[in-house]
């Protein structure tokens, strides 16, 4: 039975697309068949982060409008053969698709895949409504900033109003040194405000920036963020994984230690 997961945040720029790419890659690495759907029509990004931009011929809107078959639009990942991407259209806008059409599209994919990940656009308008229409559960991405948390709170309310009750939190771009100094909210502070279950915390890691720019997701590699995303994937599968120590390599000595590993 497949599970449809929407990755959303409300606020833009907190890491929805990066998280989708890495969780999709991580789940594929764990042997699951996964399809990622970019629902950000008009401002697509997931294909760039996955490094698959040059393979796009057909897109989500083409499938919905019947210009092509589903199989023609799905792009197989270059690293994992059980990972697929359904890219979004760049020359259209969110109104090109409605929630009913999204539901139908996802029903078509359900029998083929273990996990269907929906990369949600920022905002709470049509694009958001499309993305959550067929979702079974949601992952909320937020950074430890007041503005991002405000938006996340609003999103959680909207998800609950739309009968999505399995909602988990990803705290992204955490800087433990700042938390320690008291300049940044800690994971506990964020959970306190949002009152939903945490599924993972991802440290602010420059490897993510490099990976995103190169179109090579780093889930499962040795970097801190890569490990953090892999842990999230395992928790999605139901494994109990303790929260990793995010401080590990933020210190100078840890970096030295890593060199000798």
């Amino acid at each position: 039975m497949s599970e449809v997961i929407v990755i959303t945040s409300g606020k833009g720029g907190v890491g929805k697309t990066t998280s989708t790419a890495n969780i999709g890659t991580g789940l594929a690495k764990l042997g699951k068949s996964v399809v990622m759907i970019d629902t950000d029509i008009g401002l697509r990004n997931l294909d760039v982060v996955m490094g698959l931009e040059n393979r796009i011929v057909y897109n989500l809107v083409d499938v919905v409008e019947g210009n092509c078959r589903m199989k023609q639009a799905l792009i197989k990942d270059k690293r994992y053969s059980n990972l697929y991407l359904l890219p979004s259209a760049q020359t259209r806008d969110k109104t090109a698709v409605n929630p009913e059409q999204m539901k139908k599209l996802i029903e078509e994919l359900r029998p083929e895949f273990d996990y269907i990940l929906l990369d949600c656009p920022a905002g709470i308008e049509q694009g958001f409504k499309n993305a959550i229409a067929a979702a079974d559960r949601a992952l909320i991405v937020t950074t430890p900033e007041v503005s991002a948390i405000r938006d996340a709170d609003r999103i959680i309310g909207l998800l609950e109003a739309n009968d999505i009750h399995q909602i988990n939190l990803i705290v992204n771009r955490l800087r433990m040194d700042m938390v320690k100094r008291g300049d940044m909210m800690s994971i506990e502070d964020v959970i306190d405000i949002l009152a939903i279950d945490l599924i993972g915390a991802v440290p602010d890691d420059e490897h993510i920036v490099i990976a995103t720019n190169q179109g090579e997701p780093l889930a499962g590699d040795s970097s801190l963020a890569g490990t953090a995303y892999m842990n999230i994937c395992k928790r999605i599968l139901g494994e109990e994984v303790p929260l990793m120590n995010l401080e590990a390599s933020n210190g100078f000595f840890a970096k030295i230690a890593k060199l000798f590993k």
């Binding site: 008009g42 697509r44 490094g51 931009e53 040059n54 393979r55 011929v57 760049q90 020359t91 720019n213």
Partner: protein, 233 residues
């Protein structure tokens, strides 16, 4: 004694059987049988369309004649064409229109237009004629032309030339780094193996290049005299 009640003529598509109006039905049928029997060898087992002229026939009579013909020779009657000048004219006109359209397409390949400005992600420029773009084509932008496309700038997006299926169309750009190129029905995409490029603007010696189809593959070559000599407009 040659009888003139039945005359067989032929045109490009098949046979026209001219029937005499006054001869009575039974002897006419017999004459048809005789005529076709006599020419059976000549017709062989060719497939042809039949057209009856000179006499108004009911459907049943038409069937009878076709049966008579089939019984007396090996030709395969594909269809029976109504003798009608109007349809014939319509067909001729349609053919001529098609021919004119093809000539028009040829004109489009020779014609061109200019576009000034940078095409950004999500923008699409479509044209019946060739296009010269004074600016860049960014990733996510798309140019579609039935003719050729020349970019006086950097081509980083998608481009589709010869959109009506013309594989002799070409794409030229001062700096060629496209996501996808489609010429007629041939598609090529950029390679994945980008050798650990730094994100900073790499200032390489960008030479103007041209993309064209040869043996079903898209080639991208620096613009030289030899390459230009091979381009057919």
């Amino acid at each position: 004694m040659s009888n003139q009640s039945v005359v067989i003529k032929s045109n490009k598509q098949g046979l026209i059987v001219v029937l005499d109006e006054k001869t009575d039905w039974e002897s006419l049928k017999r004459d048809v049988a005789e005529k076709f029997h006599a020419s059976a060898k000549f017709f062989g087992n060719a497939q042809m369309a039949l057209c009856f002229q000179g006499r108004r026939l009911s459907f049943a009579e038409e069937q009878e004649l076709v049966e008579t013909i089939s019984a007396n020779c090996q030709i395969q009657v594909v269809c029976i064409v109504d003798e009608n000048e109007a349809t014939e004219n319509a067909m001729r006109q349609a053919l001529e229109r098609q021919r004119q359209k093809e000539e028009g397409d040829l004109m489009n390949l020779q014609d061109g237009r200019f576009y000034k400005g940078t095409l950004r992600s999500g923008q699409v420029l479509e044209s019946e004629t060739s296009i010269v773009i004074l600016g860049d084509v960014n990733p996510g932008a798309r140019v579609v032309s039935k003719g050729n496309v020349i970019v006086l700038g950097t081509l980083k997006g998608n481009v589709y030339v010869g959109a009506s299926g013309n594989e002799s169309a070409f794409v030229a750009a001062l700096s060629m780094d496209p996501m996808q190129i489609r010429i007629g029905d041939v598609i090529a995409r950029s390679s994945d193996s980008q050798p650990a490029k730094s994100l900073r603007k790499k200032k390489t010696e960008d030479t103007p290049k041209i993309a064209f189809v040869e043996d079903g593959n898209i080639y991208i070559e620096p613009i030289t005299k030899e390459v230009l000599n091979d381009i057919n407009l």
